[in-house]
Amino acid sequence: MNKHLLSGADLSHTDAMLVLDTAEELARLADRPIKKLPTLRGRTVVNLFFEDSTRTRISFEAAAKRLSADVINFTAKGSSVSKGESLKDTALTLEAMGADAVVVRHHASGAPHRLAHSGWIRGSVINAGDGTHEHPTQALLDAFTMRRRLTEGPVQGRDLAGRRITIVGDVLHSRVARSNVLLLHTLGAEVTLVAPPTLLPVGIDSWPCATSYDLDGELDKSDVVMMLRVQRERMNAAFFPSSREYSRRYGLDGRRMALLPDHAIVMHPGPMNRGMEIAAEVADSPRSTIVEQVTNGVSVRMAVLYLLLSGGTDGEALA
């Protein structure tokens, strides 16, 4: 495993399976009276969030605390960033405080890469979402959730070979979609992206996945349907005529859910726009794994922190 986790493509099949299997063991911690391990005692994990987040930040914080690491939460609001401090100066401050890992979310694509490779900090960098680029721990927790729901019998050592996964919606602005396509491809799944032509990025033919403009045609052969949030805050042009039209063509409602095979699950990385890309009756149905994804997020992030942070501070190749 690399020292940093910046992209879904950083993980080989072996690495990804190691993360998932480790997370599977760590998930059992939830059943114990003491939900804490001493593994990262004395290590410092900094949550560096330049962009709003609820579940990712809380999830990383819970994961680090369950491994006994010290957690420092940094949010751009209320910090010197609002006075104009640069990413570099912020990073140097964190390094001076001895951060062993920096979990970074930034509105600019590539910011975690810059942090990891600039020499500003020595610790591991974990990308918790950068612009419209990547969000690898979300992809890991999605893969973890799929594996748990779709595998019969023990999940250890099983990948997602042959599973058909349909990712629907605002692919253009979605870091979740990018990371998922890369990771799910590594794990052997067949991914299809479904979106209006305006919401598919240029160069999508080079991604290891198929594309379609027609949601109804994909549903009956899907094991997983993952709905993406329509990211209005990133939309600076008219990508579709109206919300209602988008919802009609690409929203998952009760009728479309009925077209899915019986075993298929519905996922959403959150936060949801109920009534837009997903209907309330679907979000609250037993097929929806949305709450489960949040729970699994903690286990997966514990696994990532453990695998990146144990094994010395010099960042030697792991596992």
């Binding site: 299997d21 063991e25 990146l308 094994g311 190749a317």
Partner: protein
């Protein structure tokens, strides 16, 4: 280093059955320490292991005055099949099954910062838990004592047993912590330049305990930490 296919009869079976009370260094292996070992040297064979486990099972019952409240927890990987075998023997004597589980101690180890991250093994605590129970930890080789220290910490996070005891197949000495075993299959004085390899049918396809020199040819392979040759190999089978 493959085990010698024709085991030299360097160990007699009486020694294999020696009780855990024998102090290290005082049994029939003493002469082996003067000889420089170069190949895998068999110490226990299938029948020896079976006899040692039967004796340990009886000792556990005797010391605890029966099987009431007993829970066996094996430390992965090879402690788990050993715990299962001990439980089967205890069940034979007592006529009822006793709870068996496994306890992975990886996250409690004191060398996590020094070594590459390892995959976790299963922790599987019996459904009734360990609170107020008499827990017997089971492992294959007792060496520095660090694994057992980690296991004691792990148990502390799982509950509060009435007492904790330790059963090992082989005690090879060289303790680095004040830890001792309550039940020992075989006391095996070793040099720091040797490795004890335990093989069990459930994992390795055969039952055997061998001692290997970590001399490769005539070049001494330096252990990674200098204090623990076990740390030099990633194979959980040896210690």
């Amino acid at each position: 280093m493959t085990p010698d296919p024709k085991p030299a009869p360097s160990v007699n079976i009486a020694a294999a059955r020696s009780t855990g009370k024998t102090p290290p260094g005082s049994n029939s292996h003493h002469s082996d320490r003067d000889r420089e070992p170069r190949l895998a040297r068999p110490v226990l064979e299938e029948a020896d292991i079976a006899r040692a486990l039967t004796r340990v099972a009886h000792e556990i019952l005797e010391r605890n005055k029966g099987a009431d409240g007993l829970v066996l927890l094996g430390i992965p990987s090879r402690g788990v099949p050993l715990a299962t075998r001990l439980a089967a023997r205890i069940a034979e004597v007592e006529g009822r099954a006793i709870p068996v589980g496994s306890l992975d101690v990886t996250m409690y180890r004191d060398d996590l910062r020094l070594r590459p991250a390892r995959a976790l093994e299963h922790t599987d605590v019996p459904p009734d838990g360990i609170d107020g129970r008499r827990v017997v930890l089971v492992d294959d080789v007792l060496f520095s004592g660090r694994t057992i220290r980690a296991a004691l910490d792990a148990i502390g996070d799982l509950g509060r047993p009435q007492l904790v005891q330790l059963a090992v197949l082989v005690d090879r000495g060289h303790r680095e912590l004040p830890i001792r075993a309550d039940y020992v299959g075989k006391n095996l004085p070793t040099s720091m330049s040797e490795r004890v390899r335990v093989q069990l049918t459930e994992i390795d396809g055969r039952d055997a305990v061998t001692v290997e020199s970590i001399l490769a040819g005539d070049v001494l392979v330096e252990p990674v930490t200098g204090t623990s040759p076990a740390a030099a190999n990633d194979d959980g089978a040896t210690a």
